[in-house]
């Protein structure tokens, strides 16, 4: 793979790339250098399939740049490019997703700048890991939501509604205004002394 050569000619992706390698071990995958990529490509496949996925936070952080780069390749190079085809072939385990990528996701971002994905942090969840000798082992996980922009789901973050006439806003605005005036008066009286 000529990753260095290709990456140099592509614009920088619009997401942060973590500098601390995350441990992504998974049961069923033999630990090796390859295992990490296997985990990541499963996540990338799932993200392209579902367009919004809930993952452990560290996996979501790690997988996001790969999803970004894959979409960017589609946008910048198109389906006929050899390197892009090779990347799509490898990263998307289910082959119908290559069609989806080129026909559904990439056209969505033709006139858009990176980032093409969003990452949200959910409150930590306490989940059962396994049961050993009737002993339940629970662990606390940080959860992230990785999504591709323009997905059909409702927004993760509620749009802030215009509430400037709400009781709280009226009372608080008045209180802050008077508080500010009090402070100003106190400051002026101290200056005059």
């Amino acid at each position: 793979m000529s990753a260095h050569r290709v990456a140099a000619s592509l614009p920088r992706i619009g997401v942060t790339i973590g500098h601390v390698p995350q441990k992504l071990k998974t049961g069923g995958i033999e630990p090796s250098r390859r295992a990490r990529l296997e985990v990541l490509r499963r996540i990338v496949t799932r993200t392209v399939r579902e367009e919004r996925v809930e993952l452990k936070w560290n996996r979501a952080v790690e997988a996001r740049p790969y999803v970004e780069r894959l979409i960017q390749l589609g946008v910048e190079r198109g389906p006929l490019d050899e390197y892009t085809a090779e990347m799509m072939e490898w990263w998307l385990l289910e082959k119908d997703l290559i069609t989806k990528m080129h026909e559904v996701i990439v056209p969505r971002f033709q006139n858009n700048a990176s980032p093409f994905t969003s990452l949200f942090r959910l409150p930590p969840q306490r989940l059962q890991q396994f049961i050993q000798n009737k002993r339940e082992v629970w662990k606390r996980y940080d959860i992230g939501v990785l999504e591709i922009h323009g997905n059909p789901f409702p927004p993760v973050q509620e749009e802030s509604s215009e509430q400037s006439d709400s009781i709280l806003d009226i009372l608080l605005a008045d209180a802050l205004r008077n508080h500010q005036m009090d402070l100003q008066e106190r400051l002026n009286s101290e200056k005059s002394k």
Binding site: I167, L172, D174, A175
Partner: protein, 293 residues
Amino acid sequence: MKVPVRGLLALRKASTAVATAETIPPAVLSSEFFDHVRHQVYGDSRKVDKVVVTVKTEAKDKPVLVNRNVSTSFHCFNHINKQFADDSVLVEVIPSVGGAYFSSVNQPIQDQSEVRKIGFDTSENLNLVNEAYWRSCSLVTAAFLKEALDVDVDFGFPRGSIQDGYFSVAVKGLNGNVFTPDELSTINRFGKSYIRDDKAFEVISVPKTIAEESGINGDHLIRIGHQVFTTDGPVIRSTRQIGRFSILRSKLTGKSGKDVLVGGVSIPAKQPTSSYSWSLIAKNANQKFSKSN
């Protein structure tokens, strides 16, 4: 032409005599009186007619079959879901005959109509919601003061707005005794437990003729728990919708100087805020209430 002083006095005497003969004494507002007026306005609740009420939501309109003069908009909203009903503060009623009007959620529906929920998060009609909330806070204050005080008191509700920064209730019958800080703290504790009890605001819209006959001074009769008051506009659904609430102080008011004005401030439960913001609001309300005439 000058009117002789004696003649003027005689005229005034005569006019007051006529006035006293025509005036109906104000009604004694009790829970039994509330039931009596409800019977007068809505008839016998055992004989019920069914009407179709359409609940308008953002997604779709849902027709529901309810009891005329018995069921309220709250009952209709419960057909959508409980959360939807609990969040309702006021309701816009569009009757099949006549013009649309805004009413309390707990007011019985009198005819076939369409109803639309108005909540604290509704962008339209926020002023109405704010007015209703402020009015309700005054009424709740009067309700728990009446339960808390062992003397027989009467209440007046001065017109106030959110922009004043505080709401107030005039208490008549305390003979000029304002509440001490200790008493206020006890009243606040009692008030908070009273509010937490989720007491519904039962509402009757009283027609003018019945109001005049019964000596009701207002167009709405409100019952909170066992306490009944008259007011001139819609109120919120339940005390559970009241969030942070504080009675700040009391001072003397009125021409006689014997009435006590109790001031307080509150924000809805649906609009939570930090303790710091609340302390600023309470301090500001306290200052404005103290400075007001």
